[in-house]
């Protein structure tokens, strides 16, 4: 090979690699990390992308150079030189990729083990997924339940998952970590948030017709704010005042995601309008209190015309304590007086 051809080959390679690198740098590829795990995943991502850009540049340079340099004239019927192989070259391009993928494998295994290693003073949260909603409960705080994932900053968090129906998958893009939630298994996921903010929680495993709407938010707050939230919520749930306790149950179980209820300030329209419960009860010929309770515990017994059957989870009868249920019913009924 002549020196000139090496120079132009390298030149094309630099240009191709430069374009690929520009594509990598100009677009915002990864969300700004909000956990230590995401930070490590980002490192691994850019480590592998760099290797990929180099390989792509080599291949692109070889293709473009060949097209430019070895293109035959239309009337050229001659053949190329009969080269059948080159053992040394073949060993080189077997060995170098082997070394590169080994490097990728080793760094990945290290990142993986660091991401899975729990820190001290772990906060454990039980996550329940069902078509099409998330619920988070805090076993250290009397199984306080919340429809949004509240997290303290800079603390190791272990999520333990339960699926009630089909497979779901928990993902917060800013946290990097992801875990399928398989019925019958209880997988765990480790996250150490390191940035205060509000982030989307997304279901990433096709779980049925409402899959795209199976979203909630994760809120990372300072440890002090988190403690305050925990205490405030625990107090509200245990409050003798049914309005306060009922409102906490309403909010924490995500009722507002589907229902309009003026007292709680929610306006969603997927399920029946809870400001009209008295009218519904009359239509169903049931006393108001019993009607509301049955509708929560066994929602398919009576379906208000105009709304779909089987959408509301049928699990509140078991997931809510009797006290919580009483408080919720009082709250819903009382709201209309």
């Amino acid at each position: 090979m002549r020196r000139g051809s090496i120079a132009s080959l390298v030149g094309i390679g630099v240009v191709a690699g430069g374009i690929a690198a520009a594509v990598a740098l100009v677009f915002p590829w990864l969300p700004k990390p909000a956990s230590r795990e995401a930070g490590r995943i980002d490192f691994e991502f850019w480590f592998v992308v760099t290797i990929c850009i180099v390989i792509f540049a080599i291949v692109a340079a070889a293709i473009l150079y060949s097209v430019w340099r070895f293109r035959a004239a239309p009337d050229d019927d001659s053949d190329g030189p009969p080269i059948h192989g080159h053992t040394k070259l073949e060993i080189v391009w077997t060995l170098i990729p082997t070394i590169l993928v080994t490097a990728i494998g080793v760094t990945s295994a290290i990142v993986l083990s660091q991401d899975d290693a729990l820190g001290k003073n772990v906060l454990r949260i039980n996550v329940t997924a069902q078509q099409f909603e998330w619920s988070f409960s805090y076993p250290d705080a009397n199984n306080l339940t919340s429809a949004t994932l509240m997290l303290p900053n800079d603390r190791s968090v272990q999520l333990r998952f339960t699926a009630r129906d089909v497979i779901h998958s928990f993902w917060v893009p800013e946290f990097g970590q992801k875990q399928d939630v398989v019925p019958g298994l209880h997988p765990t996921l480790h996250i150490t948030p390191d940035r205060v903010g509000t982030f989307p929680v997304i279901c990433t495993e096709l779980c049925g017709l409402g899959h795209a709407t199976m979203r909630t938010t994760a809120v990372v707050m300072t440890p002090a704010a988190f403690d305050k939230w925990l205490k405030g919520q625990s107090k509200a749930v245990a409050s003798p005042n049914p309005a306060t306790a009922g409102k906490a149950v309403f909010t924490n179980n995500g009722c507002g995601a589907c229902h309009t209820f003026a007292a709680a300030g929610t306006t969603a329209k997927i399920g029946p309008d809870l400001d009209k419960l008295a009218a519904y009860a009359q239509q169903a010929h049931q006393p108001l209190q019993a009607f509301v309770r049955t509708s929560i515990v066994s929602p398919n017994d009576y379906i208000q015309p105009g709304y779909p059957k089987g959408v509301m989870p049928q699990t509140f009868g078991t997931s809510l304590s009797k006290q919580q249920l009483d408080a919720l019913v009082t709250y819903l009924v009382g709201g209309k007086k």
Partner: protein, 645 residues
């Protein structure tokens, strides 16, 4: 008696009474067979349910399954005559071992009959798969139409989920896999110097299972509750106990397509092992033959696993078994393990034949021997072996045993090495060659560059931490399309253009071919490259609605996808007009050395007048006086050859 039967059969195309269409093998008898056996299946279900005291007597699921999806199609196959020979044999009627009436196609009608000629079957395969390619592409455009803007505009979620599920199933099971089988069907026996495949009647049966599978998957749109909507992966329990009737159309469609694949692969294996021309050792086989040999090994070993997974899933659905139902002790991840034990090797089933096409095209259009022939063949075998040890990299976030992740990552990353060897060897084949940039070569170069991007994003996905972040996002959608469109579909286009003169006896329009390439290449990149970014930024796949911040890129992708769809029209126009009016093709327009180019275009009905004698490697371009094979050695030519030093 024998003579009379033969006479009768030879006469049937022209004579017969008013009712002969009903009993003569063909599509009409096929429809009749479907109805008769479908009715029999219906009766069987009713009688058994009545006898067993089961209620309700008319269970729609069971009746649909037994009558429409199993018995009916068998009746159709019997009706079109796929079993005629075997039935004659089994019943003791005279069979005609020397009967070649099923060979060759005289009119277009012959392509709608059971035909045992591998060349006719190859064309049948390609025409059928192109129809499903167009339908599958149309479904994809509907998906992109809905995704152009956030929120729901055109379809409801049930329809949307059905659209992308059927799109993927058609493209995989009814286009990529069988299109390669079609190309190989036409070419492999020719390359081996054989008159046909080893089992021509099995070959015909394999083909006729395909339209059944495709129609079944499409028909699911028409059943109550809508098409199967759980993705082509059909994960349980969503697809078993939480889906309406449409899901079993997927379960059964996969069975028919899978059975077709397995029978074709067995046919290829036996053909390649036993029917090579004298002198053609394994190390003298063209790499396309090697590619189909290794692919067939994969199909025969792996495909029974997806059959098993779909049977179990369907049993859970229809018969209320509990293989995968966690509430009754089933294990949902068991499905995923069995499914991916097929579906990862399936990626190579959809890629290795393309590798074979690339080796032929790049060598011929570079006018150079393939670089490192033996290593090229051995790397195919390495991919086959390694391909069975990587399935769980689809399950890094599935909740399987955590210790499985690192070993699976290592095998996944290692499989990049033999793939890399192939890419570098193709580059070296082109080096210092005489490149002719005709349409097949353009698609080959497009394949090389796009497949490298798909392969590299595959290495990224092999690294567990990266995979955890991008699993089930649009990054996966981008990756699979770079591998299966930029990889497989580009090689299918290259193969169709390359062998078009051989198949039809006419040349395609070179300018339209180049236009098709550039439209496809640009449209493909504009459509699928931005999906990488969508995925890493946080857009999950298989959603009908998405966050407003992704609106700009999605609109861009949708517009680009319509351009990509339009490029297929150029291709269809080119092949349809060229097939009828293109210039007559010479026997060997590309000056190739392999055996299929040494016969006329299209080839004679039994391929070779006399069995060729293979004397050397198929890729000796640039070696003076080199020959791959000697055909029809007439005494005169032998003398002449002896005379030449």
């Amino acid at each position: 008696m024998t003579a009379m039967t033969v006479e009768h059969h030879e006469m049937t195309p022209r004579t017969g009474g008013r009712w002969s269409l009903l009993y003569r093998a063909g599509l009409i008898r096929g429809a009749l067979g479907f109805c008769l056996l479908g009715a029999f299946g219906f009766g069987l279900v009713v009688v058994f349910r009545w006898w067993g005291g089961w209620h309700p007597l008319l269970d729609m699921q069971v009746i649909t399954l037994v009558s429409l999806l199993v018995a009916g199609p068998v009746g159709f196959l019997a009706g079109i005559g796929a079993f005629d020979y075997w039935v004659y044999y089994a019943l003791g009627f005279p069979t005609r071992p020397e009967d070649h009436s099923g060979h060759g196609a005289r009119t277009w009608r012959d392509y709608f009959r059971v035909n045992t000629d591998h060349k006719v079957i190859g064309i049948q395969y390609l025409a059928t798969t192109l129809v499903f390619f167009v339908i599958g592409g149309f479904l994809a455009l509907l998906v992109r139409t809905e995704l152009a803007r956030p929120g729901m505009q055109f379809v409801d979620t049930q329809t949307f989920n059905g659209l992308f599920s059927v799109h993927a199933s058609l493209m995989i099971f009814l286009f990529v896999i069988p299109a390669f089988a079609g190309l190989a069907n036409f070419v492999v026996p020719l390359m081996l110097g054989a008159p046909d495949m080893a089992f021509p009647r099995l070959n015909a049966l394999s083909f006729w299972l395909l339209p059944i599978a495709g129609v079944m998957m499409l028909a699911s749109f028409a059943v109550p509750g809508g098409a199967f909507a759980c993705g082509w992966t059909g994960y349980v329990p969503l697809c078993s106990t939480h889906e309406p009737l449409g899901a079993i159309f997927f379960n059964q469609g996969v069975q028919w397509a899978g059975a077709s694949s397995i029978m074709t692969a067995l046919n290829f294996l036996v053909t390649i092992i036993t029917m090579r021309a004298p002198g053609m050792t394994f190390w003298r086989m063209p790499l396309l033959v090697w590619a189909n040999f290794t692919t067939s090994l994969l199909v025969v070993i792996a495909t029974p696993f997806i059959a098993g997974s779909q049977f179990f899933s369907m049993f859970d659905h229809v018969m209320h078994t509990a293989f995968f139902d966690p509430q009754r002790g089933g294990y949902p991840l068991g499905y995923q393990h069995i499914f991916w034990f097929y579906s990862h090797p399936a990626v190579y089933i959809m890629m290795l034949p393309g590798f074979g096409i690339m080796s032929e095209v790049i060598s011929v259009f570079s006018r150079k021997p393939i670089f490192g022939y033996r290593l090229m063949a051995l790397s195919l075998m390495a991919i086959v072996v390694l391909g069975f040890s990587v399935w769980a990299h689809h399950m890094f976030v599935s909740g399987m045993a955590p210790w499985l992740r690192v070993p699976m990552m290592i095998t996944t990353l290692l499989i990049a090495v033999p793939t890399g060897i192939k890419v570098f060897s193709w580059l070296a084949t082109m080096w210092e060659g005489k490149l002719h940039l005709l349409t097949p070569m353009l698609f080959a170069l497009g394949f090389l560059s796009m497949f490298v991007i798909g392969g590299l994003s595959g290495v990224m996905l092999g690294a567990v931490p990266i995979d955890i972040h991008v699993s089930d996002t649009y990054f996966i959608v981008a990756h699979i399309h770079y591998v299966l469109f930029g990889g497989s579909v580009f090689t299918i286009f290259a193969g169709i253009y390359y062998w078009f003169p051989k198949m039809t006896g006419r040349m395609y329009d070179e300018r339209l071919g180049k236009l098709h390439f550039w439209l496809t290449f640009v449209g493909f990149n504009l459509t699928f490259f931005p999906m990488h970014i969508l995925g890493t930024e946080g857009m999950p796949r298989r959603v009908a609605d998405y966050a407003p911040k992704f609106a700009g890129l999605n609109m861009f992708i949708s517009l680009a996808s319509f351009g990509l769809g339009a490029s297929v029209m150029v291709f269809l126009y080119n092949i349809i007009t060229s097939m009828r009016n293109g210039p007559i093709a010479p026997g060997n327009p590309w000056r190739g050395l392999t055996l299929e180019w040494q016969v006329t275009s299209p080839p004679p009905i039994f391929n070779f007048d006399q069995i060729p004698q293979v004397v050397g490697s198929p890729y000796e371009y640039g070696v003076p006086g080199a020959q791959h094979a000697v055909l029809a050695p007439s005494p005169a030519r032998e003398v002449e050859e002896v005379g030449v030093p």
